[in-house]
């Protein structure tokens, strides 16, 4: 199982046939295992890692990390308010964190104003939200283990003993 995940995490296009060959197992067994992982929610989605700096994507030109301070609700804790917050399409990630703030959001928008408007009009006025701090991202170096730069060229000499 762990091995299948390691392979897919590196290359989610790896086919069941190839994974079967790599691991010395039967293709059917791999397919079944992947299905099970999907069903259990271990594998949630297959996606490409995109270097956004190289594409013009009007809807997510600007990203910000937003710290949100929240007054927890009785019996519900942070979950209910978190749900209200992460349901906005502008929110691409949402974490509950320890420390000075409670929620950490990654928010995307087409420009500074769009993000600012989201904070001022949608996020800050929410009941139980006590305060926010917005940090605009200036440059992305590494995301989810992937270093965002052009593929490195081969540095090895083509043939050696």
């Amino acid at each position: 199982m762990e091995e299948i995940l390691e392979i897919l995490e590196k290359d989610c296009r790896a086919s069941a046939e190839d994974i079967a060959k790599m691991t010395g197992k039967k293709t059917a067994a791999i397919k079944q295992a992947i299905k099970k992982l999907e069903k259990e929610g271990v594998i949630l989605k297959y996606k490409a890692v995109i270097n956004r700096e190289l594409v013009r994507d009007v809807d997510s030109q600007v990203r910000a990390l937003i710290e949100v301070n929240i007054a927890p609700q009785k019996d519900l804790g942070f979950d209910k308010i978190a749900e209200r917050v992460y349901s906005f399409p502008e929110v691409s990630s949402c974490y509950l964190i320890s420390g000075t703030y409670d929620l950490l959001l990654v928010v995307e928008g087409k420009d500074l104003q769009a993000v600012a408007r989201f904070v001022a009009e949608k996020l800050a006025p929410l009941e139980h939200v006590k305060g926010t701090a917005t940090h605009f991202l200036l440059k992305k170096y590494k995301e989810d283990g992937v270093i965002l730069k052009h593929r490195e060229e081969n540095k090895r000499i083509a043939i050696s003993y």
């Binding site: 091995e3 390691e6 190839d18 790599m22 083509a158 043939i159």
Partner: protein
């Protein structure tokens, strides 16, 4: 001026495939399965240690034997990994890769007329380096024994002049390795005939089907084994050039004599980085090993399915398939494959005459490359029929 070059060097067998190598290096867009080194970059914590040592101003010589910190680290590393105990003061020497270790070991033990047994196909340097040191080389053809030296072929090659055997496992170019039991059988022969053994175990971390057994851990062997290893393969540190030799004190003392005059010491930056590799490299080594293993399974399966029959190698990152049935020599096959399909492999003859009829293919390459190479080779083989 006449006789500019020494007779000894002049008589060294030039590599017959140099021209082929030049051909590969001159071509563009080649998928190369001809590379004898990892395709991973040295793990970052190790690189960072090298950089930091420069920032700190560590730019001097080290002791001839190598940084004490590194030798002490190796002492602990080997004890922990294999239960092997070598004294960092007297039984260890840091060398410029295993290559220097092999050269020093030969020069330290050989007297004129001594013979060295080299099983072939083998890594390219063993024979020539032994000859340079003044030995006669007894090559043992292993092609009939799955590329392994056996007690029988070893015994047959032994006469009074034989001083040492060289073993390399997992092996370049064949990828075969020895089980503990096989090594025990071989060690009995070595003990019976009072031989030394140069054991080049630089691929030890890349053993897939069973645990690696260092020859020196076997009963009665530690005092006759020259254990050669390095950071190149397991830690993906080829360009740093750091190897080490562990052997009985008198052999290390002899090797250190030559080393101090010829090399002085290994680059301090590299030694600092190697030191860090022992501390934090294990996780990366395991990750890379798993990746190589998957490629091995994928690639060997692929070779067999396109008609290049190949037994599954137990270690390193090489496949050594036979091509006799296609009626081309190893060199012709490699040249045509390169010209027609732009796939580079190494003709088996690079590793000894008995490598004729075989090719070395390295699977230290991305899965995409391996997949494409298999496709191209499949097409090439269809064209041959």
């Amino acid at each position: 001026m006449k006789n500019i070059v020494s007779k000894k060097v002049e008589n060294m067998q030039p590599s017959g495939i140099r021209a082929f190598f030049d051909l590969v290096l001159g071509m563009k867009d080649v998928i190369s399965l001809g590379v004898g080194e990892p395709d991973f970059v040295t793990p970052w914590p190790i690189r960072e240690a090298g950089i930091y040592s420069l920032e700190q101003g560590f730019t001097s010589y080290t002791s001839n034997k190598g940084l004490y910190k590194l030798r002490l680290g190796l002492n602990r590393f080997l004890k922990h990994k294999y239960g092997l105990e070598y004294c960092p003061d007297e039984e260890m020497l840091i060398t410029v890769g295993v290559s220097e270790g092999v050269d020093l070991a030969m020069r330290a033990i050989i007297n004129p007329g001594d013979k060295i047994i080299v099983p072939i196909p083998s890594y390219v340097s063993y024979g020539p380096v032994a000859e340079l040191a003044g030995a006669k080389v007894a090559y043992v053809d292993t092609t009939q024994d799955d590329f392994k030296l056996t007690p029988k072929t070893l015994t047959k090659a032994i006469d009074k002049k034989v001083k040492a055997v060289i073993l390399n496992y997992p092996a370049n170019p064949t990828g075969v390795s020895y089980t503990k039991k096989e090594l025990e059988e071989l060690s009995k022969v070595m003990i019976r005939h009072d031989l030394l053994c140069l054991s080049d175990e630089v691929y030890d971390d890349l053993t897939y089907d069973f645990g690696h057994t260092p020859l020196a851990t076997l009963k009665g062997m530690k005092n006759r084994v020259i254990y050669l290893n390095g950071f190149s393969k397991g830690f993906a540190m080829t360009g740093w050039r750091v190897g080490y030799v562990c052997a009985p004190p008198e052999i290390i003392a002899a090797m250190t004599k030559i080393h101090q005059y010829t090399i002085m010491c290994v680059s301090i930056t590299s030694q600092m980085a190697a030191s860090e590799a022992l501390i934090s490299g294990a996780r990366s080594v395991q990750e890379m090993k798993r990746e190589y293993n998957r490629r091995r399974e994928f690639f060997i399966d692929g070779l067999n399915s396109i008609g290049l029959s190949c037994k599954k190698p137990q270690g390193a990152f090489y496949a050594f398939p036979g091509i006799k049935k296609f009626g081309l020599s190893s060199l012709e096959f490699s040249q045509r494959l390169l010209k027609d399909k732009k796939v580079a492999v190494v003709p088996g003859t690079a590793f000894g005459a008995c490598g004729e009829g075989y090719l070395r293919m390295s699977y230290a390459s991305s899965s995409d490359n391996l997949k494409e190479a298999l496709l191209r080779m499949g097409g090439f083989l269809k064209g041959l029929k």
